[in-house]
Symmetry: C2
């Protein structure tokens, strides 16, 4: 690998001059620049990012921590972040944490050690106290961690209310909620929305606990339907669980949406794949990724000083399950 020295030697100038043309700053004579550029080209020289990082204490890369890329909600989010970051010349270091605090902390340490310029994190487990010692900017994505950490998220509470409201409008009299895991921010908010919307009309709430994934959801839906055969509406905590519920319901020979209506939350592609296609509260996933990236970039560049919290609205997408 050619170094800046090799280029300098070949071009017959000093390394400082080469550095100047590389970074396009300071005065350098047109002829000299040409010479240097020719040398760079000839040697196929690429500046060493590591050396540069060491000096500048910045790496042109950011860390992205998510629970699990295998969860169909995240691939799109990750791509949106990557795209935005790449466009600004940043590389993204992706890590799956499985929401294990110990791993999250380890990942963060590792990132700091690698001079990442900022971190975007999706997590329920991590708290402000684990983050406050950091000197690089951080933004919480999809979930808000605390008031002190800037965030980009969706109004889960309102979205949930809208979802339940749709079920009611469609004539459902007994609406159950298949909630997401306990202590998970989004799940709690959606539950709260369901509860408030139900109690506002003195409807009895029926709650079963899922884990944001398919299998448990099927099992719980089965249980729900045997214990409450008169249910005519289900608000699932996310699309994956809704899909699980649809599978279970279909297996039971109950017709959707005639006998039972169901709505999910997230708006992932999976919902359009199953039959009947799933009605859902669609999150602006790409926007979430993009906005969080831009926000982080602004903090990195010092263009933003305040503590911003962006909240998007989930949008009702009605398909065939309601």
């Amino acid at each position: 690998m050619a170094t800046i020295r090799d280029v300098a030697k070949l071009a017959g100038v000093s390394v400082a001059t080469v550095s100047r043309v590389l970074n396009n700053q300071g005065y350098v004579h047109e002829d000299t620049r040409k010479k240097v550029e020719r040398a760079i080209h000839e040697l196929n020289y690429k500046p060493n990012a590591v050396a540069r990082s060491l000096y500048k204490k910045t790496s042109k890369s950011i860390g992205l921590i998510i629970p699990d890329i295998t969860n169909p909600f995240f691939p799109q989010l990750v791509r949106a972040v990557e795209e935005t970051m790449n466009r600004s010349g940043y590389t993204v270091l992706l890590f799956n944490s499985d929401e294990v605090l110990k791993r999250e902390r380890h990942i963060i340490d590792l990132m700091v050690t690698k001079y990442v310029d900022g971190i975007i994190i999706v997590s329920n487990t991590i708290k402000y106290e684990h983050l406050q010692h950091l000197t690089i900017p951080i933004v919480a994505l999809d979930r808000v961690i605390s008031q002190e950490i800037p965030s980009v998220s969706v109004n889960n509470y309102e979205g949930a209310r809208k979802a339940v409201r749709l079920l009611k409008e469609k004539g459902c009299k007994k609406i159950a909620h298949l909630r997401g895991p306990e202590n998970v921010f989004t799940a709690e908010e959606r539950l709260r929305g369901y509860l408030d919307e139900m109690s506002s009309q003195e409807m009895e709430s029926i709650i079963y606990v899922g884990n944001y994934e398919l299998k448990t959801s099927m099992v719980e839906t089965m249980r729900l339907l045997t214990e409450h055969p008169d249910i005519d509406g289900i608000f699932a905590g996310n699309d994956v669980m809704a899909v699980g519920a649809i599978k279970a319901i279909t297996k039971l020979g109950i017709h959707i949406p005639n006998e039972l209506k169901i709505i999910g939350f997230d708006g992932i592609e999976l919902g359009t794949v199953i039959t009947p296609e799933l009605s859902t509260m669609k999150q602006p996933i790409v926007q979430l990724g993009k906005k969080s990236s831009e926000l982080l970039l602004h903090y990195i560049n010092g263009q933003e000083k305040g503590l911003r919290h962006y909240v998007y609205q989930a949008e009702l997408v009605e398909r065939d399950s309601t």
Copy 2:
């Protein structure tokens, strides 16, 4: 951020000694080690990975280039790679290339510049000529790029034959193939398998072209079924297309598997989500990721010198669509 100097000063030793205890090599007196460790702890010192990289010309990280994380085949693969790598102390830098050669080359340059210790790449577009100048090890994953690049892949040809054979055994008389995109290695191999299996019994082959994704697959399936209403078996080039086909077929009111049987390829989770559940040729996705990582690690450590090509077999998983 504390540096090695701070630790040295606090412990009352030289930086060399600190480095020795950090790397656990060379002689250092037990008492000295204790002192140093105490200082490290007290300052919450973490060695600077960038400085270390600069000296050692290695970064304890590898690059992973995939077409698109949004394609449901990849998340699992990525996790398997990440897991294996992390376990060996390596970080993975993930990039989506969209199979655009220019981006792939850019990504590779970037990685080299960051001192990645090796690269795992999933690509059809890149060729040996674009890789031969690299001095770091590289392994091709899922597709073989050339004989000169070590690879870990699946026998798509054999898998395809098995798939078609199943359809025949189940009594299908007219079997169509919904193939993947042209010039994509896996798609070509699967097509070849289909063709050979058909001609071995002098069955007429009927081929429609999809793009490994849902929408096109639905459209093409519709066309296929209007132009050839007597089709009784479909071998789809991958699971995503198979799911698209199922949607189209169901919409047409044709019963699966009674009137028409269908089998996919890949074994992604999506296949178990739809109704009827999809029969498929399951790839050992996790193993692919794991093996490619281990192989790369072996090259990095110099434990492996030869050009290895590992080929796994796809496994028939029969569910409800056949």
